[in-house]
């Protein structure tokens, strides 16, 4: 079981409170977690990564275990603590200013 924390706007969009708990097939990677997330919440497609290329959107970041995993390859294994559900996988809207 993987725990995912979404930013406020995406929790509102997906109508979820608190953490999302996902069962992920196979190894826990960014790709497998996001596939499972988007499978359960189709309205999140396109909000975290591009719908066609699956590239992470420019102002979205992935944190876990006090590390920035945003630039890790999408098929790299996530930390064991995330895979075991001890630590959440954080989807974060970057502090990028704006109006």
């Amino acid at each position: 079981m993987i725990r995912v924390v979404l930013p406020t706007h995406l929790r509102t969009l997906a109508h979820v409170d608190g953490e999302v708990k996902l069962d992920v097939e196979g190894q826990a990677t960014q790709r497998s977690v996001l596939d499972a997330l988007e499978g359960r919440y189709p309205m999140l497609r396109g909000t975290i990564r591009d719908q066609v290329t699956h590239q992470r959107r420019a102002f979205v970041r992935f944190f876990a275990c006090e590390q920035d995993l945003s630039h890790e390859p999408p098929d790299a294994p996530l930390p064991d603590a995330v895979a075991m559900g001890a630590e959440p996988f954080l989807v974060v809207g970057a502090m990028a200013g704006g109006g």
Binding site: P7, T8, H9, L10, T12, L13, M43, R45, G46, T47, I48, Q51, V52, R57, F59, V60, G93, A94, A96, G98, G99
Partner: protein, 371 residues
């Protein structure tokens, strides 16, 4: 008794303002989609409870929201906007080729007859259509595939398709406008398009009389007279009496002919409204006076409408999609400002009152007249 429902898109959410036909006391609901930019929301003429909204964010991209109950509840529908085929390039600000990249939906135009059919004008400029209530979107690629496509350049706000006008007398005819390419018209329901900019003159482009490349801000039509179009261009207020085949200037005695919105009275096809803005480098009203100008003669002769509007120290702007008219009698006129005010005139512009004063910056205003 009839009612009106005003749909307001702002930089930080959507608001729905409702009133009876007197248009004096208003209920405000919102913000819907709080914190997101709402470029536009609009109701279906065929089913007024069916609304569509364009919700976007620099962080999380584009969403389309749909309501089936007049804006009380909403559901996200399809947000996959993929250009048809290999997108190719248009010109960038510096004149170099730039790949077509989807940024956001600027304008949603529901079909006049089918609640499940809706058009979307997007940045980078293209026209999409959904025939399943917004669940899936397909590009009408003939527009972007026009021979001039690779030469289109963005305006200051991006290369956006911001205006979609459906001809009520001919379902196959659609007008669209792009900043900064100009007006295009299709007569075959979107398969093929041709520029409709003859008579426009823009000093800011290499050939002032070019067929394509004009920064058209907005076009408007009265449904009873679809061959007559009015245009607010970057500079100049223009009119066409032949469905866009040619245009002539009707700026007349306006204090400045720069501006963004233009609209037509619901019952008088020659009564039109604009909001003159000082210049393209100073996006606020001249002299700090917020004045709507009305022509009852289809242009040339304009009168300032000031009663109830601030006549000193006002430096807001009114954006291209932020004016609308209802179809009550007398006709109601509405506009929203970048300062967060939404004004109504229940007497065709003679006098104005704020409905709300302190919303986020207003991007779009639409109104529905309900039985």
């Amino acid at each position: 008794m009839s009612r009106v429902r005003v749909l307001v898109g702002t930089r930080k959410g959507a608001f729905v303002l409702t009133s009876d036909a007197r248009r004096e006391r208003w209920d405000i609901s919102g913000p819907h989609f709080a914190g997101w930019e709402i470029y536009h929301l609009k109701g279906s003429p065929a089913d007024p409870n069916r609304l569509y909204a364009s919700q976007s964010s620099g962080w999380f991209g584009q969403q389309i929201q749909r309501s089936n109950d007049g804006g009380t509840t909403w559901e996200p529908v399809g947000n996959k906007f993929v250009y048809d085929g290999v997108p190719g390039t248009h010109q960038w600000y510096d004149g170099t080729p730039h790949p077509w990249e989807f940024a956001r939906v600027w304008h949603l135009e529901p079909s006049l007859t089918d609640p499940d059919t809706v058009y979307a004008g997007v940045e980078d400029a293209a026209l999409f259509r959904s025939i399943d209530g917004g669940q899936t979107w397909q590009e009408l690629p003939g527009l972007r595939g026009h021979d001039s496509g690779p030469s289109w350049q963005p305006g200051a706000g991006g290369m956006c398709l911001h205006t979609i006008v459906l001809d009520p007398s001919d379902p196959a005819r659609i007008f669209i406008a792009i900043s900064a390419a100009g007006v295009f018209r299709t007569d075959d329901a979107g398969k093929t398009w041709r520029p409709a900019n003859r008579g426009l003159r823009s000093e800011g482009i290499p050939d002032p009389n070019a067929e394509v490349g004009h920064c058209v801000h907005r076009i408007a039509m009265h449904r009873s007279r679809p061959g007559v179009l009015f245009m607010q261009k970057h500079w100049d207020v223009m009119r066409s009496d032949d469905a866009g085949e040619s245009w002539h200037e009707v700026s007349g005695n306006l204090p400045t002919d720069f501006g963004f919105p233009i609209d037509v009275h619901a019952h008088e096809p020659d009564t039109i409204y604009v909001v003159p803005i000082k210049s393209d480098s100073e996006h606020y009203p001249p002299e700090g006076k917020l004045r709507v100008y009305r022509s009852r003669t289809g242009g040339h002769e304009w009168e300032a409408l000031t009663k109830g509007l601030p006549q000193r120290d006002c430096y807001v702007n009114v954006l291209r999609d932020a004016m609308a008219v209802d179809s009550l009698d007398p006709c109601g006129v509405y506009f929203g400002t970048t300062g967060g005010q939404v004004y109504v005139s229940a007497d065709a512009g003679d006098s104005w009152a704020p409905i709300v004063r302190d919303l986020p910056s207003v991007v779009s205003v639409e109104v529905q007249t309900l039985p």
